[in-house]
């Protein structure tokens, strides 16, 4: 057996191992969860601590938490990315400081964000255990990811556009809005998508901020249980909740897949239009 065949075999084995873990996980979830998935599961409230009933309030809470997180972090993230990429000289102290802080923030465990959110949003700002607190905590958590991805997208926009626009006497902000942001749009969409994915899968940061209450929320100041928290609670704290936990996990994976697919196809379309 030649070295090449051996190497190919090892690489293939690695690929099969990685794929099989995912397939195993998915099969397990489908086997336990699929029988529970039905129309009523999506529209009914959960009963008996989640052992029976559906996940309608959970889905609504999750959507609201994600909405708060994205609405607050997207403008802030985009503005910071623009500042770093277009209005900061490369190698400046300010730029280095902001980037380093973001990299450190990106490495902070999510449970620490949860504790920070609890201390700052729930207690100090008096928002209590609420969807608003949870969403804002998630916003803080995804900001580094959002900013660095968007910044890279902007920096990948051709420098020729900046020079040509400047040579035509156009202001930097005009070049930004008419040329650079459209050119970076696929990357910005991808950044937003990554942020939604990260936020949607988060559990630890929400346990201390948006709480456990599985009722349908009346307002953003109500506590609301996110899907991931629901799955965690059912599988860890509720005996006999495994089937519903699997079904909920299946829903979460399905949602993330749908968001991913939509965003990817959007980014693809945009690229075709611009080139």
């Amino acid at each position: 057996m030649s070295k090449n065949t051996l190497a190919t075999g090892l690489v293939c084995l690695a690929a099969v191992l990685v794929t099989s873990v995912f397939v195993w996980l998915l099969t397990d979830l489908v086997m336990h969860g699929l029988p529970r998935l039905s129309g009523p599961f999506f529209v009914e409230a959960s009963q008996n601590a989640g052992r029976s009933g559906g996940i309608a309030p959970i889905i609504v809470s999750t959507a609201l938490i994600l909405l708060v997180a994205i609405v607050t972090s997207a403008p802030l993230g985009l503005a910071t990315a623009v500042l770093l990429s277009e209005f900061t000289r490369p190698g400046s102290l300010f730029g280095r400081l902001v980037r380093r802080s973001l990299d450190v923030l990106a490495g902070v465990p999510s449970i620490v964000f949860g504790l920070f959110g609890n201390a700052f949003f729930c207690l100090y700002l008096g928002l209590g255990f609420s969807i608003l607190s949870g969403g804002l905590t998630l916003a803080c958590m995804v900001l580094p990811l959002l900013i660095r991805t968007a910044e890279q997208g902007l920096q990948a926009a051709p420098n020729d556009y900046r020079l040509a626009a400047a040579a035509l006497g156009m202001s930097r902000s005009a070049a930004l809005t008419h040329l650079l942001l459209p050119a970076a749009m696929p990357a910005l969409v991808a950044a937003l998508l990554l942020a939604i994915g990260r936020a949607g899968a988060e559990t630890a940061a929400l346990v201390f901020t948006s709480g456990y209450v599985d009722r349908m929320p009346d307002s953003l100041l109500d506590s609301g249980r996110a899907l991931s928290v629901h799955i965690y609670d059912l599988s860890m704290n509720v005996a006999g909740g495994d089937a519903n936990a699997s079904a909920s996990a299946l829903v979460l994976i399905g949602l993330l897949l749908i968001i991913n697919t939509i965003a990817m196809s959007l980014a693809k379309q945009w690229r075709i239009v611009t080139l």
Binding site: D160, L163, A164, L168, G169
Partner: protein, 284 residues
């Protein structure tokens, strides 16, 4: 309008039709429009240009020749302050444009760049339609009426001989044009701002010989109405189109202006032996 019909009548069989752009009188009385005095430029600690002094004459074509890396492009970038955008770039010396200090810190740089346009080596059409490419900078400078914009778009496209080729597909993406068409579109986009000076950084070097010839003809037509400063590695081209020529060479690791004068003199009776060797193709 009458001018346009005349031009069309004059060249019925031409592959491209040049618009009402009329060559002005040859510059027999040299009148300096840009005066460069003792200009030096550094990138960080590295010198790129050392003590360059020359005058750019109004309505003439000035060609800058010399080997790569001798600061010709840096020189052009000083003239429209594009050097402002390069970090660590230091400029010293004096540059006067129309008797105003071009390097004055309070000078309106955007207005200056409208007066002194620039064409790059590689055509840079924006990822927009042909029409929007020309309209975007015009709108930025406050021209908003559709009728004015349409008239200006048609006029500059005719000026660069592109109108007949694209008039039916103005909404098509500009990046779908051929290289030569893209470069002419970029020239049209610069002309739309009615500049006094056009700086051209090897505008033909990325084009095939036929497209290059079309752009060269166009540059010839700009003489008189516009002041053109062109960097070129094509000595034959410089000889054909330039009224004045400047020869740059690297001395002590910085670009220097070795000789400047009327193009005929530089190419036929150069004073400096380096110039003679370069224009005869012995060096460089």
């Amino acid at each position: 309008m009458s001018l346009m019909t005349n031009t069309k009548k004059d060249n019925p069989g031409a592959a491209y039709t040049l618009g009402p752009l009329q060559a002005g009188p040859p510059c027999c009385v040299p009148e300096p429009l840009i005066q460069v005095d003792n200009l030096s430029l550094h990138y960080g600690a590295k010198p790129a240009l050392a003590k360059v002094s020359l005058d750019i004459y109004k309505g003439c074509i000035t060609a800058l020749i010399g080997p790569s890396g001798c600061g010709k492009t840096s020189f052009l970038s000083v003239l429209n302050r594009l050097t402002d955008m390069i970090p660590d770039c230091r400029v010293s010396g004096h540059v006067y444009f129309d008797n105003k200090d071009l390097r004055h810190p309070t000078l309106d740089v955007q207005a200056l760049r409208r007066d002194i346009g620039m064409i790059f080596q590689k055509p840079v059409p924006f990822p927009l339609s042909i029409r929007r490419n020309i309209e975007l900078p015009l709108r930025e400078h406050g021209m908003n009426k559709a009728a004015d914009l349409n008239a200006r778009v048609q006029q500059v496209l005719q000026d660069v001989g592109l109108w007949e080729e694209v008039k039916d597909r103005l909404e098509a993406p500009a990046q779908a044009l051929s290289g030569g068409q893209q470069q002419r579109l970029c020239i049209a986009r610069a002309l739309a701002l009615r500049p006094q000076v056009l700086l051209m950084d090897e505008p033909c070097s990325a084009l095939d010989p036929i497209a290059s010839g079309v752009v060269e003809d166009l540059i010839q037509r700009l003489r008189g109405q516009y002041t053109v400063v062109i960097v070129t590695h094509n000595l034959a081209q410089a000889r054909r189109i330039a009224n004045y020529a400047g020869f740059f060479w690297v001395k002590e690791r910085a670009g220097c202006l070795i000789e400047f004068g009327q193009s005929k003199q530089i190419f036929e009776a150069p004073v400096h032996e380096l110039t003679a060797a370069y224009v005869q193709g012995k060096r460089g």
